[in-house]
Amino acid sequence: MNGVHDMGGMQGFGPVVAEADEPVFHAPWEGRVHALTGAGFRFGGWNIDAWRHALERVPPADYLRISYYERWLEGFTELLVGARLVSREELARRRAGGVARPLAAVTEAPPTRGETPFAVGQQVRAKTLNPGGHTRLPRYVRGRLGKITAQHRDQVFADANASGHGAHRQPVYQVRFEARELWGEAADPNSAVYLDLWEAYLEPA
């Protein structure tokens, strides 16, 4: 989905602010959210792609307003409710869980096949795709030319796995995109961005 989580290339968020001597968790509740979420993969049975998609479905204004672990609490609560392990009524009665109501999940099956395998050194184009569900193809590379620099081990296809449409394991390629191809002629000529892209995201160019 073209959500606000897909931040690559956006402008206007201001400078990067680093915190000195930052603790792992800033309050005990953050550690509990982290641990509950980790435990949820076992007792809830959902996968990492469904988890990421739950975070992406936090409504955009909330996504930007709340902190990282508050977002986790929202996503975790959504998965608990979706798996019928808890009900919204139980949560409300106990004043437990998240407060934002995540957007509905898209359940239509994504295209899962690449047309062809690729070779290291080959030029490829990232497809122009705008799926309503989970995808790991960021907007800023769609339609852009890149070059395959390595082939990784086959991986579960995130787009399909997130919505329960199966693993569809396939090759994942490391693809190099020149900064000028992504951002135009004014971009740094001596800079490139590498992404790891599933075969289904790519076409020959």
Binding site: D21, E22, G31, H34, A35, L64, Y68, R94, V193, Y194
Partner: protein, 213 residues
């Protein structure tokens, strides 16, 4: 718009006086899941303990120091990160691949996850707030030199910048350059020169610490 950074401070401050709303909500959720028999509080304690005290960037620093003194290890590390760190007794994460990218006099590497917060937990622990923040996720790919400058790192124009956007189940660790004048140091002393930030790529190894190491 408040950034994550200030937000966290607010909550940490609240926690010292009265439990914040969110702390109460999390506590209520945990107790509900405990009553349902879904989670064991002791198991949660163990997870928190692991991330607070057992994993963290000192693991990655040991890997980097070993690569600096052992060319054979370095070659194996770059060829297959998972197998190489396993030699040091470091467990990877099932289904994830560790790729180590080497800085050279002509190439500087920078790691980001524009879509969420993917980060090499096995060797660096959990990411800092800035790594997960909108400013970093948005700008690292479109203005890497500007981001590096904010971290106090200005690189010559003839040094190529490679930005690694962690879009699949591959995690990236930067192998920084060994600082000059460190020939006499042993592996443990070298590891002390390797900051977390240098393994993300926003600092050089052995560089003076800025706000966050």
């Amino acid at each position: 718009m408040p950034d994550d950074h200030h937000h966290h401070h607010d909550h940490a401050g609240d926690a010292q006086t009265a439990p914040s709303d969110i702390a109460l909500r999390v506590k209520a959720l945990e107790s509900l899941l405990v009553e349902k028999g879904l989670v064991d509080p002791a198991a949660l304690d163990a997870i928190v303990e692991t991330y607070e005290h057992k994993v963290g960037p000192r693991i990655g620093a040991r890997v980097v120091a070993r690569a600096w003194i052992d060319p054979g290890f370095k070659a194996r590390l770059i060829a297959d990160g998972d197998s190489a760190v396993a030699e040091m007794g470091i467990d990877g994460v099932e289904g994830r691949q560790l790729v180590v990218v080497e800085n050279t006099p002509l190439v500087h590497n920078l790691v980001v996850c524009t879509l969420c917060s993917c980060y090499p937990w096995a060797v660096l622990g959990l990411p800092p707030v800035w790594y997960k923040s909108a400013p970093y996720r948005s700008r690292a790919v479109i203005d890497p030199r500007g981001v590096l400058a904010e971290f106090g790192l200005t690189l010559a124009r003839d040094i190529e910048i490679r930005v690694w956007d962690s879009t699949a189940e591959v995690r990236y660790l930067v192998l920084p350059q060994r600082p000059a004048g460190t020939e006499a140091l042993d592996e443990a002393a070298l590891a002390n020169l390797v900051s977390r930030d240098s393994m993300i790529g926003v600092a050089l190894a052995g560089a003076p610490k800025r706000a966050a190491a």
